[in-house]
Symmetry: D2
Subunit: 415 residues, 4 copies
């Protein structure tokens, strides 16, 4: 019986409820003070608790110690995890490890999976993903890739610099995208992904660049690759298919961000609802209650539409990864903006306390705000979405659909 | 084999494509000039064509001559219908008949269905729905209902005035909501729905109040009920359950509006895409193209999120009508605003021609704009959505969820 | 004593109040049914009344029969005029005549002013402005101008087609922008404006293209110039300075649109306030009142910020026309969007009646919506605004301002 | 010669430029790392520099050592100060001292001004303002005031708790609003303001509650008043006029917040423009440039409209403080939202670096975001704005303006 058949709606709902209980009881009490960075010790402790509670690594295949939940059912469970900024870390479904594990599961050889996926899945190691580069390298435009891998006997030598390598401090593995040069050094082979242990000579991690979000362990540093020599077995999948695999990774990775942070948006919204209920009870500030109702309703709408587009995209990713990856751009833009709005509104509804350090709303805001930039800024996504829309419509017209923008003269009484 | 099993994804997709072809080939050429009202003659002609094309009355049960499509599959077909302002009329899935037929199918007796549903389903008659009343009667607050039905021997006498009775001019049947008075006239029985033939003595239709939209046949007039005597068999369902049936009608009715007008939004968006493609080709206005891309992407996002929340709500309505009706409020607010935005953006992208009468964009805008008001204004919906959210969260807290708005002191190094 | 000194704040306020009274008493009763086009007969009648009331042609110099109000004081008076869609027509301060008169006053010779400005100022004639051309001519990019004027003996021969020539049907004068060809036909002279009587042989007006707005007399037709011969005295100002004069015209013309339509937005807002007051009195729909208050407040904010940016821009236009023209782009985008929002919100607040033809809200919406496109679409304006901002900042940096986007490392305890 | 006459436009412009230079050269180099709180030592050092540069205390009357700039000219200078989060502190025009000094200047006796205003104006002391109280006291609804002052012989005894007392840690003076009880303890005297030295027995400052903003010195703690005895000379102005004085303070105080933070918004916008210019030069990310242009233009529009409404409100406050205070609500809502949008957009435009700690954008965001809550949350302001709008319109109707919401029947050909 395959995973999809095994995970009936009831079983998924059970797991969701167990996850919910675990987050409330075992994770939320350990949330750090606003502005505090999370360290690896806390991660290890929480993951141990999650394993004991039977909710660890829900998305990881069972043969690697996970629960084997299929992607179309991740959303309710990941949202529950995301209800705490620490939840995904506790369940080992946090970026970038979650996306890296997913890609290893899809592309890696059996030996590579044993060597890298197994300890990652068990929470024994962490990993990072080396794609983005300092200007003028591969930023939002991957084709500008400047990190290169040159053949060298039976292996490769990698040179370049990556930036925003989230989680790199303390990571055991980097998955690195490099332009692979043929024997004649002409780059004909395109881009390739390499599995590079972080203790390989020539790998050097920069300062742990900090951003306004705090929940990730290991910062977002630069990682330098100075003539790093790796064997042929370091190649992930096939040489030259790096961009294709990047898409394999990016579609789900974008979507799981949506899931986790939607959980945090629900938390912020619940906080505002609790305050709204109290206001109604005590009769205070009734004057503004009407405007507050409009804001609460807008948050419900943002949450429900995000939930719906996530579900649809997850189902599509399970059946048609290419179409799913395209729709994940749409989901990413909508959800990231909706999530930021929900947290912002909730903070506003709490008034002065909402921006104080006695409630975590402002720190939640700082946690979710960068999502409008991460995983391809929303502006880059919009550009890509518009291009796809124009092309897709052009194909429709080429297939016989009438052009609609021709000016028309209506005669009198034409109807 | 039941309808849900019979309608495989492939069959649904076939019907969608046939509907699409029918709309392009047989309906769009008959679209009236901007500002023109649609008349009944055109409706009859188009419905005859639809019947010939095998796409007539997709949502109507097969025993009444329809295609028997289950509600969870209406959306793709209704969206194709909505690609033309005339499409839903042609397919006989236009408001208010579609909602009335749905309610009759769910609630009416076999005899009532024969008498009223069969000719409606065949497009031989039209109907209206009498709920909203002139101020200070039942507007957005149905509990203020002032139309009354008093027992009178073996029948009832109905008195009152309804307004915004869409489609009433020329309709054969009115479904009328009235406060039913017990023998002692005290209103103890709540509200009841009555099936009232429009030629019953005492029924009088006012002037065909016009609104900025044009596609409905029969206007939105007042209908006066002056001591209208109807037999006991005029009661729809049970006495006193009128509000419950109104919900049965409203949930799907709101959602089918979303489906149809989303189709029209797709049409407007396609028009803008066609122009965008042309601009790229001819190199003109490239300066503004970037801003235009952002607008096109926003329209894609509006369309896809609307599509996703509609699908989810339709599936919920099929399985849990009460939860589905609640979610349909959320869908209605999101979709109506998204649809208006898409049409507005498309009109803007066409520039001066977009607001001219040589393209139908401005008339599409006038068609969709009232949806933010119809079926319960979005502000009323927001008020209801917020109330439900506060109540639902209060129930969660009562069931043991921790309150989240308590101020907290973090010790140093608490993490 | 010059005009600015003569128009004390008290005199301006008196004129505003007289205008207000005139609009209420003499103009509003004649407003046409929604969707109706305005005809010239009504214009003549209303202008006669305005003259009698002493409020005619406020912006026209006294020597041409106007009140001589300086541009920095136009806003309060034009806003009062705009309270009715007919008001600006009645006062002879409607587009395009108002902008044409302004330009004639600034640029024309004494003889040209006598011949063309005097009858225009008196309301005896109307005019149009020929700038925009059918694709691929001068649309939002004036440099693509395809209408040409070639020297021919002691005059010029003009050939080309103009579109969106608002007011052309029935106009006596066209001010036409054409690329002027030198004797060798090489276009070295740039663009020039010509004063062309509409009865000149070779001038032909196309069908009165209709748009969703209705208040303009004379439609927005194409005007064809087929080898139209005009004398040297037809040149407005100097040969080759057409684009400069276009800016002279456009800055104020954009701003007076803001003024007039802001008046109409105030009218829509007042209608919503009247209904809000009634609701409070009768206790109905109190549930939604809170959300409505938020909407009413947003309209106040839109109106007040529009008023403020208009005043500032008008003052700047009086003192520094070039800077004023640049700021008028900002004012145009803000005001056009704010005005559309105010009218849209007001229509929404009126519910079903707001979109009905028993109240003029929907027709007001159709009147103001095109302003986001007219006078350079808001997207074109945004492109120009951004370019100016980048350039202006680059000049600041060139003058010694420190660049702000350099990454920085803060030492510990740096503060 | 009075201050207004003395401060010619040229002199104001000179001061603006000097302030600009001072901020660039002497303040910006001392800006703290993101997330760092500002301490008093830094304040003293910067103020000393400002005094030396001749830009200290621009708004303070000359007899108290300031530059005597009238309120209608504050905006350009305060905006320059606000270009750095430390600027207003350096110039001694930071909240809450600036608002307290303004109120002392307007209301205090000569002796009180000598005792309290003089050292404040010189930067020798700091102050706080005690108005807001913990729930259910005076929050956004001042009438719920629970702090009381009871007559006691020739003085008063004050009891109560204030919260969000910005700047209280280290302050020398609190201006405290209390409900004044008559001899019979019945509260008939309304509210009164008291000048309370912070070292008066019974005054106790709570923990320095921290919020997401950092630039204020002295936190936002609770201040407890436990039977604090003050002499009759501690009364500010007249007994019972506390709310009136609060309005005197609030109108300008709200507006100076707008001015200062608009300066910071300009800084963030300039940072984005610098990056935009670099992108154009190096040709990178041209794909997204169009969408970025739209965002840059929106920021220009937000800045210019904020600037315009601030100027208008400042001029009104100078001439009609009551009308100015009402308009300051509108300005506060618009500017606070516009400022937050500008900083948010600028952060977005900088991409990953925008949310990193290598650029101050995220910390600017945290600085300005609370303004939508401070000084009366924007929702409370909207409620008040809507109420004033409804009342003002009702007065117009009472004075004879025709009601506009009456339904109307248009006859055919009515125009």
């Amino acid at each position: 019986m395959n995973a999809t058949a095994r995970w009936t709606p009831d079983r998924v709902e059970d797991l969701r409820i167990e996850t919910r209980r675990f987050i409330r009881d075992r994770v939320m009490p350990h949330e750090p003070a606003p502005g505090t960075h999370v360290d690896d010790e806390l991660r290890v402790r929480l993951q141990s608790d999650a394993r004991a509670a039977g909710v660890f690594a829900p998305q990881v295949p069972t043969e690697f110690g996970g629960l084997g939940l299929p992607i179309e059912h991740w959303s309710p469970v990941f949202q529950e995890a995301g209800y705490s900024p620490l939840g995904a870390l506790a369940l080992n479904c946090m970026a970038p490890d979650e996306g890296n594990m997913h890609m290893l599961g899809e592309v890696a050889t059996a030996a590579q999976r044993e060597e890298y996926l197994r300890p990652l899945a068990a929470g024994q190691t962490r990993s990072c993903f080396g794609m983005s580069e300092p200007h003028p390298g591969a930023g939002s435009d991957p084709s500008a890739l400047r990190t290169v891998a040159a053949r060298d006997g039976d292996g490769w030598v990698i040179s370049g610099v990556k930036r925003f390598s989230s989680g790199a401090v303390g990571a055991a593995l980097a998955i690195v995208m490099a332009r692979t040069l043929g024997d004649d050094g002409d780059g004909g082979d395109g881009a390739t992904m390499f599995l590079v242990p972080m203790n390989t000579p020539g790998v050097r991690v920069g300062a742990p660049l900090r951003t306004m979000d705090r929940a990730i362990v290991g910062g977002h540093p630069h990682v330098h690759f100075d003539d790093v020599r790796v064997p042929e077995t370091a190649v992930l999948g096939e040489v030259g298919l790096g961009f294709r695999y990047a898409q394999v990774r990016l579609g789900p990775a974008r979507l799981t961000h949506c899931m986790r942070w939607l959980g945090l948006a629900r938390r912020a919204h619940s906080t505002a609802l609790d305050r709204a209920a109290a206001r109604e009870l005590f009769g205070s500030r009734v004057n503004e209650l009407g405007i507050a109702q409009g804001m609460l309703a807008d948050s419900v709408i943002d949450i429900e539409t995000s939930d719906a587009i996530i579900s649809r995209t997850a189902a599509l990713l399970a059946n048609d990864p290419r179409a799913g990856a395209a729709l994940s751009s749409v989901a990413k833009v909508h959800c990231s903006e909706a999530i930021v709005r929900v947290v912002d509104r909730s903070m506003q509804l709490l008034g002065g306390e909402g921006v104080s350090e006695h409630l975590p709303l402002a720190s939640f805001f700082n946690e979710v705000r960068p999502f409008r930039i991460y995983d391809g800024s929303n502006e880059t996504q919009r550009w890509a979405i518009a291009r796809r829309a124009v092309k897709s419509r052009s194909r429709e017209r080429a297939a016989g659909e009438p052009a609609l923008d021709a000016l028309r003269e209506w005669g009198v009484g034409d109807a």
